[in-house]
Symmetry: C2
Subunit: 306 residues, 2 copies
């Protein structure tokens, strides 16, 4: 099972890397400095977890249609990358290290980092609208639904809204602070990381032509995976080292940010992550979607060490 | 003629204001702080120049179809608003006054301002994909082309690329500076303001069902209008007052930014703006698009005092 997952992930990652390289705008239409800055962050050795979810969901729905999901997968990665660039800024998390390299703003300055992030978000939507180039009405409808799902997940009710709650809880909004309890923490993460992970998976299911029931099941599965992913992230922040994570470990505790381990304890946090995986399997079984790699991916999320 | 333009603009502005209010995400799905921040900037008394171009282009192509262009018009305004929020940040132009009010980051902090801008961009694309809600294949195709046109205009080869060149010329990119000559200044503005103005107009023409020739003519017309708009902006920065502009006048000169008046002189700059309008009229005549308000809008652009 792990071998099949490894093979799938390796192949998917290869297709995503090649497509990202092909899709990113280049000089002379793109000014050299923005091009460099975007590529610095897009090709920084990311795991490509989210776009792999997109391709895995498409593959679980219909292996022959998985190619259609490559542009959406790349769009998800561009949105994720832009969010990391902006989150790392001094005005937000003020991180100088990301995946073991200096963060973009420390290399090019805050202004260019803001702009490179802005450009990546715009390219993401242009990409889904443009690729694959076809006048087929069915594909056109899927692309439009993917744009909507990704836009709503990235926006104020999704990822950005979650990050805003996080900033407000950290006392970084002028004159405003909120205190997150357990329910508030969960609600924040559902937006901050959960929304884009769900959209990554559902946009894959949409592009592969899934019926409404299958798309809904993929969405539920992704909710569980997203929650498990966040819990494990928090656990790794406590246990991990800067080497393994490629970022500053213990950072959450240093900022007094509420985390799953700080609110529930390490042991209970681990159990909670496993419960997500158990629910994820049940969802796949009920929807008869156990044929692909979605179950193995959920298992990997709680097993990972980085 | 001016009366007809005034009536058109007033009606268009009313529809845009109402639609923006309806389309922006609200609590509880949108966290209250992001909602407040987005609305602070979206409803800051902007002229709605770009979305009016969208509706005017749609109206010139087919008055009965102009309703279909309202979501694209709002998307253009959301993208424009987000770009102003980010441009005003300390890491970019460091402006504390915009349209006579404190800029967003001075009220909510830089982090929330970055996020509110990010959210507005995401909402723009989600909006065009979602509205008007229909399964009509023709409309679906137009919406997808509008997403692509807007995404490419907002991205690295367009608006954001232009702003990056501007930052680089102002010495705000770490370790990099470029010097803009006349051609470089023109190329920067074609991206920074020209690209979104063109996309504003062409997305209107697309949504109204224009044929390729009509869409191309609207695009050329908008290029001339965009250039005239920028030249007049530079002239007003020299001549204007903080009261009239609602922002700090003389700011370009203070930062030693190259402008049309600084490179060509005031008199020649005024002539250049008028030449744009003359070319804009010829384009409309050749394309038989003189029936609507596009000609009068081009005239207004060089006549305006704020």
């Amino acid at each position: 099972m792990a071998d099949a997952l490894d093979a799938f992930v390796e192949a998917a990652r290869g297709r995503i890397e090649a497509a990202l390289d092909r899709y990113l705008p280049k000089p002379p239409s793109c000014p050299p400095l923005v091009n460099e800055a975007m590529r610095y962050s897009v090709f920084a050795g990311g795991k490509r977890f989210r776009p792999i979810l997109t391709l895995a969901a498409a593959d679980a729905i219909g292996p022959s249609a998985a190619d259609l999901a490559v542009p959406a997968a790349c769009a998800v990665e561009l949105i994720h990358t832009y969010s990391l660039i902006h989150d790392d800024l001094p005005a937000m998390d003020n991180d100088t290290l990301r995946r073991g390299r200096p963060t973009l703003h420390t290399v090019y300055g805050d202004g260019i980092a803001i702009l490179a992030g802005d450009a990546l978000q715009a390219e993401a939507f242009a990409l889904v609208a443009r690729e694959p180039g076809t006048s087929d009405g069915t594909i056109c409808d899927r692309k439009l639904r993917a744009v909507q799902v990704l836009g709503e997940a990235a926006g104020a009710a999704g990822m950005v809204g979650g990050q805003a709650i996080d900033l407000e809880a950290a006392g970084q909004a002028i004159g405003r602070t909120i205190v997150l309890d357990r329910a508030g923490l969960q609600a924040m993460h559902l937006r901050k990381t959960g929304a884009l992970i769900r959209a990554a998976a559902t946009s894959g299911a949409i592009m592969a032509g899934g019926d409404p029931g299958a798309i809904a099941a993929v969405d539920e599965w992704a909710s569980e995976v997203g929650l498990a992913f966040q819990i494990v992230d928090d656990i790794l922040d406590v246990e991990g080292s800067a080497e393994g994570l490629g970022k500053t470990a213990g950072k959450d505790a240093a900022r007094a940010k509420p985390t799953y381990p700080s609110l529930f304890g390490l042991e209970r946090s681990r159990e909670m992550a496993q419960e997500c995986v158990d629910r994820a399997w049940r969802i796949l079984k009920n929807a008869r979607l156990t044929g692909g790699q979605l179950g193995a991916i959920a298992e990997w999320v709680v097993r990972r060490k980085t």
